[in-house]
Symmetry: C2
Subunit: 275 residues, 2 copies
């Protein structure tokens, strides 16, 4: 299985500290040594760095740990191969253009018997179930919103519907973004955290490294972090409910959706309502 990490921030921010902890799981403190990738969104464009080498000792990962790239939305992934060999074509995040924006997607999980009909709008380059799911989701969104690109208020419910159609095929936790919003879906395991003023210190789980967040952030900054497993030991990471989709915009939760079956047990009234 793989691990996911994402940042969504009001102001452009670096992920060098978080990636230092996260990438240690790519072969050092974790077994996810089959490649890694990061996608940095910048306006409509997205800059992707991928490498089939283990994140803990790849020279590209070392470059990314030591050279901060500031972005408002970042997706990261470390891979433990389940479907498809260890190669560049199978490294997440995957990126495709839709409506003049670059979309990035990363998946943690494993889908069985998921072979939807693809009409050719998007075809997988590699052999993963993950890229297949991404291509199918974009194909469905493209058919549904033909004329113009809607914002997250219309995309959120549509993406929740697609996630629920795929989730029965196995484990399906994913991150999706077009740089305007971060869509995070936690079928089985995903955590999130908001950082805002007053900023404290953060201590990595995977490294003996502490960062005083007040030195790197101003009073107006705020950001959301999402991860398969909490990256820091002294912050209040919150678990996603099973099947929950959360939409983050400008470092804040904008909307969430919990499937009806789960809502009954958790918090009625959250379904399809803006947060």
């Amino acid at each position: 299985m793989c691990q996911l990490f994402a940042l969504n921030s009001l102001a452009p921010a670096a992920v060098t500290f978080a990636f230092t902890g996260f990438s240690a799981r790519g072969g050092a403190t974790g077994e996810h040594a089959d490649g890694f990738g990061l996608a940095f969104h910048d306006g409509q464009a997205c800059r992707r760095f991928v490498d089939p080498a283990p994140a803990c000792d790849s020279v590209l990962a070392q470059f990314l740990r030591t050279h901060p790239i500031h972005a408002r939305t970042v997706l990261a992934h470390i891979r433990k191969a389940t479907q498809g060999p260890v190669q560049l074509a199978n490294c997440h995040p995957f990126v495709r253009e839709w409506q003049g924006r670059e979309w990035s997607f990363a998946h943690n999980g494993d889908l069985k018997d998921f072979h939807p009909r693809l009409d050719g709008s998007y075809r997988p380059v590699g052999q993963t179930d993950s890229e297949r799911a991404f291509c199918w989701m974009l194909q469905k969104l493209r058919r549904r919103f033909r004329r113009a690109l809607p914002d997250w208020t219309r995309l959120g419910p549509a993406i929740a519907e697609l996630a629920e159609a795929i989730a029965p095929h196995g484990k399906f936790n994913f991150l999706l973004s077009d740089g305007r919003a971060l869509y995070a879906y936690g079928a089985t395991r995903l955590f999130w955290l908001q950082r805002r003023h007053p900023f404290g210190t953060a201590h990595l789980v995977d490294h003996d490294l502490t960062l005083d967040l007040a030195t790197t952030n101003g009073p107006d900054d705020r950001m959301v972090l999402v991860a398969t497993e909490p990256l820091t030991r002294n912050e209040a990471w919150q678990p996603f409910a099973p099947g929950e989709l959360r939409v983050f915009v400008d470092g804040e939760e904008a909307w969430r959706h919990v499937p009806a079956a789960v809502t009954g047990r958790l918090q009625p009234g959250l379904v399809m309502q803006p947060a």
Copy 2:
């Protein structure tokens, strides 16, 4: 105006030496300081590195000059902005997926009044004439070859036709690849060179740096280099004829096409014939 560089090789090869000379033109020995990019093809996938900083002093360019990435086809571009601001979205090479392969495209030139109707298959992310041309070319290829991806023997003539349709709009020298073949079109200015056994030494134009090619290549290696201006001073770079498309496969010229008007003056019989 921008500058182009490409490699097509039988065996995976590094471009650190060539990129050292080429990237010096991105702000040091040349004025192309508005960003740069490289696309390394690996099977069906393509790994793209882009940066809006000048290639001569970008930390990413420095990383790419000192950490060889081996690939059989590489496209590179240094930008001097003519259309579209200096930003990530306007950095070449551009990459899109078609038929499960990633295609990369880089352009040197300037197109006037080129606003073709785009059906939504591919839309520009940035504001350049170049990305618009790339999207339109892929759209046309996609419509023409709906079922399966043809090889270069069918794609070459189709790409030559598209290039000739765009070229009257201004200057249009470009590089295009899907990792199987390198398509290079020289409307006004483009050079190429083949290296094969016995390998000599190469001396960069833009740096006081010499490489003994025999130490980095074996007797069976062969490769083609394409560039807007020759990168080395002691090798036999050949100019493209005006409007010439050359297709390179496995480090060798596989096919070329010269427009009829030019052929009359140059070499009759080369039109639409395998080389």
